[in-house]
């Protein structure tokens, strides 16, 4: 942490540390916002406001990254609860595979995986995303999700099992 870099209302957080993880946190925020960039940018600003004001206070009970991910998760959860964002997300991506510059075979396979992921219950999907894509441990993912480690493990194991079963028929998912 650079001298004088700590936030006034959050002395254990430095601006430089937040800058270092900005890309990862934005990626998480984007996922929380149904991949709507404008909403994700707004969510990021709001998360930083929470840190600046000390409303979300880091007490070193977890890693800073886990803490900031949890702040984003909580903000997104409260913001989008009423909007039933998950419903929109499922309907959007279940029907419209994402357009990326990949060959047709890979794209088709990815869409199948994506649909399988989105058939998972929300918490199972979250834990899978955090562990598989954000390089978190199940313990860290549980902290971000606000559940006990035991519950997190159960979600993780069930999600993996369900995904394997769902993908076995459509994609060559190794057992």
């Amino acid at each position: 942490m650079r001298d004088g870099d700590a936030l006034e209302n959050n002395p254990h957080i430095s601006r430089s540390a937040l800058e270092a993880m900005h890309d990862q946190v934005f990626s998480w925020a984007l996922s929380r916002c149904d991949f709507d960039r404008a909403a994700a940018e707004d969510l990021m600003q709001q998360a930083y406001v929470e840190l600046l004001s000390g409303s979300a206070r880091f007490e070193k009970r977890s890693s800073l990254r886990t803490f900031v991910f949890a702040v984003v998760q909580n903000l997104a959860r409260s913001r989008f609860r009423r909007l039933a964002s998950r419903l929109r997300l499922v309907s959007r991506y279940a029907q419209e595979p994402p357009a990326e510059q990949m060959d047709a075979g890979v794209e088709e396979s990815r869409s199948e995986v994506w649909r399988a992921v989105h058939r998972l219950p929300p918490r199972q999907r979250d834990v899978i995303e955090l562990v598989f894509c954000r390089d978190m441990t199940v313990e860290e993912a549980s902290t971000v999700m606000g559940v006990s480690v035991g519950t997190g493990r159960v979600h993780y194991d069930r999600a993996k099992k369900t995904l394997r079963n769902n993908l076995r028929q459509t994609v060559a998912a190794p057992e």
């Binding site: 900005h22 996922s31 600046l52 598989f132 995904l163």
Partner: protein, 117 residues
């Protein structure tokens, strides 16, 4: 973790890949700081307004009740005052028949010619 586990993770992780280029950190940070400052100002003003309202309500509640004025008996009041209308002189009990006897009214000025000054 076996190779198959690793492959499975990669397969699932790949499905999450999107265009997730983050906006510029400095820009996001400045926007957040500006939002924070605005929020503080708004909260300060809201607090001030709430305080003023609370004080006004307290003053209203705590203000002493108006004292009851003592009641005055009508009979007592009538005994202490008298009043006579200027036109009382024209009443019949004064023995003046206004249709017969015009009372001498005091004129403020003497007549000059036919003009009443």
């Amino acid at each position: 973790m076996t190779d198959s586990d690793v492959n499975f993770e990669k397969l699932v992780a790949c499905a999450f890949e999107r265009d997730d280029r983050a906006p510029d950190f400095d820009q996001t940070w400045r926007a957040a700081e500006s939002r924070y400052t605005r929020g503080r100002r708004y909260r300060a003003l809201s607090g001030l307004a709430a305080t003023v309202t609370a004080v006004a309500i307290l003053l209203k509640v705590l203000a002493p009740a108006p004292t009851q004025l003592p009641l005055i008996e009508m009979g007592e009041l009538l005994g202490t005052t008298s009043w006579q209308a200027p036109s009382d002189v024209l009443l019949p009990e004064r023995q003046i028949d206004i249709y017969q006897d015009l009372p001498d009214l005091i004129e403020s000025t003497d007549g000059t010619g036919e003009a009443l000054l």
